[in-house]
């Protein structure tokens, strides 16, 4: 019998599972940078706004400032880490050229997208859960709609994982990639109501905040926990869902066409 013989059976789900496992291993190998550092940063925010300044600030009737700010900080951890995972992993693969290892294999575009996305969601939700755990030392939250909280967190994580893929494909340099985070995501998060409800803003700035997509994600997520928000939950959820769908279609189109992946 010949020892070299092509396998007769191929396991259809194995390419997807392998890529997912590889992506998870990738961020776990550098867990100080990918998990611990964002948890420490969020903990410092919690300490500053929860235990020190928070006691002197009141922005929402019936809730302490710590209670108000914790949902936003949890979501910030979810969002930034989901984005960072897909964007850095795909960009580095492109930059170093080892993306060809995937291009020569039978991995399909949907398998590619979902493996990268699920790994990013796992990292985002791990950081979010850790921040949540630490936040219990600073304030008690009412958890009005816990299932909806999970759905909103997963949706936000999915959305920013797609955005990370898109950014990694469009950026040609590491500098350009960091611009997506520093000049788009971070300002939109900070101005989207993580640290204050937009209802306390002057009318012009309040109206302008409604054009900030981040506002709906943060407001919706906070509302699932505290039960109060600036716009109805269905509006926040619908806006987040629509954005996630739009970005998924965009990422799928780029990856399906091999944009900046295939020569």
């Amino acid at each position: 019998m010949k020892r070299f013989r092509q396998p007769e059976k191929f396991v259809a789900w194995l390419p997807f599972a392998t890529l997912l496992q590889k992506e998870v291993r990738r961020f776990l190998r550098v867990s100080f940078q990918t998990l611990l550092a964002p948890i420490v940063t969020a903990s410092l925010y919690l300490f500053v706004f929860g235990a020190t300044l928070g006691e002197r600030i009141s922005v929402m009737e019936g809730f302490s400032y710590a209670q108000f700010v914790i949902p936003g900080l949890i979501l910030m951890g979810v969002i930034t880490n989901s984005f960072a995972n897909t964007s850095s992993s795909l960009f580095i693969s492109r930059y170093l050229g080892n993306i060809v290892d995937l291009l020569v294999t039978p991995i399909s575009a949907p398998q590619f997208i979902f493996a990268y996305t699920l790994a990013a969601m796992l990292r985002g939700l791990l950081v979010g859960s850790a921040v949540l755990g630490i936040s219990t030392f600073f304030a008690e939250l009412p958890w009005v709609h816990p299932f909806a909280t999970l759905v909103m967190a997963a949706l936000a994580s999915f959305l920013f994982a797609q955005f990370g893929l898109i950014a990694a494909l469009h950026a040609n340099t590491m500098d350009a990639l960091s611009m997506f985070n520093n000049f788009l995501i971070v300002p939109l998060i900070y101005l989207g109501g993580v640290f204050y409800p937009i209802s306390i803003l002057p009318p012009f700035w309040e109206r302008l905040s409604h054009f900030n997509p981040m506002f709906y994600i943060i407001d919706g997520f906070r509302q699932t926990i505290l039960g109060v928000g600036d716009v109805p939950l269905i509006v926040s959820f619908s806006a987040t869902f629509a954005m996630a769908l739009a970005l998924f279609c965009w990422a799928a189109l780029l990856i399906g066409r091999g944009y900046k992946l295939r020569l």
């Binding site: 070299f4 092509q6 396998p7 396991v11 390419p15 590889k22 291993r25 050229g97 020569l263």
Partner: protein, 312 residues
């Protein structure tokens, strides 16, 4: 019989500059086929189009009868490719990276094949080292293992022995011959033309994106008739004297080496007398059988390492 690889009217341009022009060729199952050409000839672009790294502008590529674009899932499993450029994922060890690569192809675990590859390529002692601690030669051996891990029926090796030491090079070619005997078709590019001569049953030569020769190796070698005389000169020449132009002269090694072609019946002694009569001092003389390098020079005007042929 279905061809292992059937390329028809393949064309690819980058920013309007053609890299591969109207390339058509067929590789039969079980062949070891050489694809040669100077740097920039279009060999790697062709390989990239076969392996799916590069989009095809026009033309078709069929692997064992399956279209590379419409049946990509099947063709990707049939092809194993080792690219010329060394690319590794520094996050993982050799062991982990090989397991990951097998998984990408959906290949169920086959430890005996994996161990055989590791053994044949001398990767055993380095299995748990991270990629960035490996030498260039080791990385190249790892890339060969990666290309074979899913047991492809068509193995494409783009410069597999560049930077690999002599012993391992010999082991690698022995292994390639062995799996070829087991039915694996091999397409290879190499700058070591003696390797191509020894390994390949047929050879295609590309230049400027076009196919300029495709023949059995023995026929290709027969294109250059007569013996070759390699004369080492005591003092380098700037230009070959006009009196020697009938001998198809080529100056090499910065004018230190004069290469001449002797026609049938022409004696080396008479030619040497002509050289010394011109006042050129001869240091050493060697007669050569024409090899692939001469064919290559004859067809492309370039040495395989992209050096220009020295004839004036």
């Amino acid at each position: 019989m279905i061809s292992a690889l059937h390329i028809e009217h393949l064309h690819k341009s980058f920013a309007g500059t053609p890299a591969v022009r109207d390339l058509s060729l067929t590789v039969s199952p079980g062949e070891i086929f050489g694809l040669l050409g100077p740097n920039g000839a279009g060999k790697s672009t062709t390989i990239n189009m076969i392996s799916g790294v590069c989009r095809i502008d026009s033309g078709t590529v069929r692997v064992f009868g399956h279209d590379n674009c419409t049946e990509r899932c099947i063709t990707r499993r049939l092809v194993g490719v080792m690219h010329q450029e060394i690319v590794t994922d520094n996050f993982f060890t050799i062991d982990r990276a090989l397991r990951i690569h097998a998984g990408y192809y959906g290949v169920p675990r086959d430890n005996s094949w994996r161990e055989l590859l590791i053994d044949q390529l001398g990767l055993g002692p380095h299995l748990h080292k991270s990629m960035n601690s490996l030498s260039g030669g080791l990385k190249r051996r790892f890339m060969v293992a990666k290309a074979m891990i899913h047991k492809p029926r068509l193995l494409i090796l783009d410069e597999p022995t560049a930077g690999v030491d002599v012993e391992l090079r010999r082991n690698l070619w022995d292994f390639v011959r062995e799996i070829n005997r087991d039915g694996v078709t091999v397409l290879l590019t190499t700058h070591y033309l003696e390797e191509a001569e020894q390994m390949c049953g047929r050879i295609a030569i590309m230049n400027h994106g076009e196919l300029i020769a495709l023949e059995e190796t023995s026929r290709l070698l027969a294109r250059i008739e007569g013996r070759h005389l390699q004369v080492t000169l005591e003092h380098p020449l700037q230009e070959v004297p006009a009196e020697l132009h009938d001998l198809q002269p080529a100056l090499r090694e910065s004018g230190q080496m004069l290469h001449l072609v002797l026609e049938a019946g022409q004696g080396a002694g008479a030619v040497l007398r002509r050289i010394t009569d011109l006042g050129i001092e001869v240091g050493d003389v060697e007669t050569l059988r024409p090899g692939l390098e001469e064919v290559f020079l004859h067809l492309t005007g370039k040495r395989p390492d992209n050096g220009q042929a020295g004839g004036k």
